[in-house]
Amino acid sequence: MNEMDDLTSSRFSDIPLRQGRWVGVLGWAALLAMIGAQAIGFAISRPERDMGHLQKILYVHVPIAWAMMIAYFIVFVASILYLVRRRERYDLVAAASAEVGVVLTALTLVLGSIWARPTWGVWWTWDPRLTTSAILLVIFAGYLALRAYTEDADRRARWSAAVGILGFLNVIIVYQSVRWWRSIHQVQSSPDTVDPSYALALRLNAIAALLVLAYLVARRYHAARLERAVEARMEMAALEKGGAHV
């Protein structure tokens, strides 16, 4: 019998194929909130004096950066919970959040670069926040690579929890050390770019970004549970088949 047939047979009926209906609702809410926030952003706020419509990038860039920090904070908390309680779901929540965090970090960096080029005249500057975001991207890309290369589920969970906790703590230290490094080199800091009159569009976008974060984490968490369930069944099936030799 081929393994794929095996997976659809009744022995695998306890695999959680369906996810809660609320996830779908969350997805539509996230999409509509994103569209609505952009529409309102364009309708109510005039082009900024110096930046023009370019400034609208910040409506997405800044909330996405916030959502990214929340995603990594979830990784941190879920990793600690995993090491304390050893429940699989904490490991899967951490993994789902790390995946979403990496995507959001890449998005933050790309949007920031597109905005910075016409505004500051450079694609990149060694600002503490920029530098720290780039390091974050690499730290959590490493976290995902470690997960991908570790086959044993228990080992993968423990190792990635340790890497997630250390990685998150390191972010604070990286941020501070880049600040000190910069202050000694005496380069101007980034201008404060958000005017209070643009606050409403920013807030709406923050809500939209949070919904996007929640939706993506929920979807990835469900996918991770499916993968784990299939992995466990395959192990079990292999054990049953090879039972006579063990």
Binding site: G142, A145, L146, R155, W159, G167, N170, V174, W180, I184
Partner: protein, 228 residues
């Protein structure tokens, strides 16, 4: 077990690793020649201008130590993977922290020995004054290397046991090293320039803090990483 017994055990473990290395010298020789080659390559990259080379020297020196040293860490665990040696090691009585301390001590000795060759070679190739700034430089090398090797020993405990270990260890380790690299390079370049602004001691104090934080975190997390 008393802490004295634990320390004896850590020392025995370190001695075992160093003896294995001393008898083959294969890894040490390869790393030293690689480090020398990296120094030459950076020389080609920054051009033959002596002033430019001297300005870049502190960064080049630390990157050379990093790129060379990172090759040592995986090996220190791979030695244990053959013939189930790691299981044996874990079966011995005593705390698992001791295994980390033993591995850390052996890796520190290895990287310090590499530096003992790399630093004079860098001084010759990049025309650096070595005699006058030596005491300060020794302190930076000591503190910077301690932070680097602590994290390297910790991450190699995981990376050495997966398929893609050659790429995974630097990918996990280097982003964690940013604070240590920044502080070490700044302190080194200040000291090499004669410390005109008095910056070096501030960066050294930071290095002490980073070392303490990373050492504590690695020792605490190690038990979750090694138990099987």
């Amino acid at each position: 077990m008393s802490w004295r017994a634990e320390l004896t055990r850590a020392a025995a473990l370190a001695w075992k690793d160093l003896t294995a290395e001393r008898r083959t010298k294969a890894n040490f020789n390869a790393v030293v020649f690689l480090a020398g080659m990296i120094l030459l390559l950076f020389g080609f990259a920054f051009g033959p201008d002596a002033a430019a080379l001297r300005a870049a020297a502190a960064g080049v020196l630390w990157l050379t130590v990093l790129f060379g040293g990172v090759l040592a860490f995986n090996r220190s665990y791979q030695l244990e993977l053959e013939n189930g040696a790691l299981e044996q090691l874990l079966l011995y009585p005593g705390s698992r922290k001791t295994i980390f301390l033993g591995k850390l001590a052996a890796n520190l000795a290895f990287v310090f020995l590499v530096e003992a060759i790399v630093v004079p070679v860098a001084a010759i190739l990049y025309d650096l004054p070595l005699a006058r700034p030596f005491p300060g430089l020794a302190v930076v090398l000591l503190l910077g290397t301690f932070g680097f090797v602590t994290l390297g020993t910790f991450y190699a405990a995981m990376a050495s046991r997966v398929r893609a270990r050659e790429v995974l260890l630097p990918l996990l380790l280097f982003p964690m090293l940013v604070p240590v690299v920044v502080a070490s390079v700044e302190a080194t370049s200040a000291i090499l320039a004669g410390d005109p602004m008095g910056d070096a001691s501030a960066w050294l104090r930071l290095l002490v803090v980073f070392d303490a934080v990373f050492f504590t975190a690695s020792v605490l997390a190690f038990e979750h990483v090694i138990d099987e």
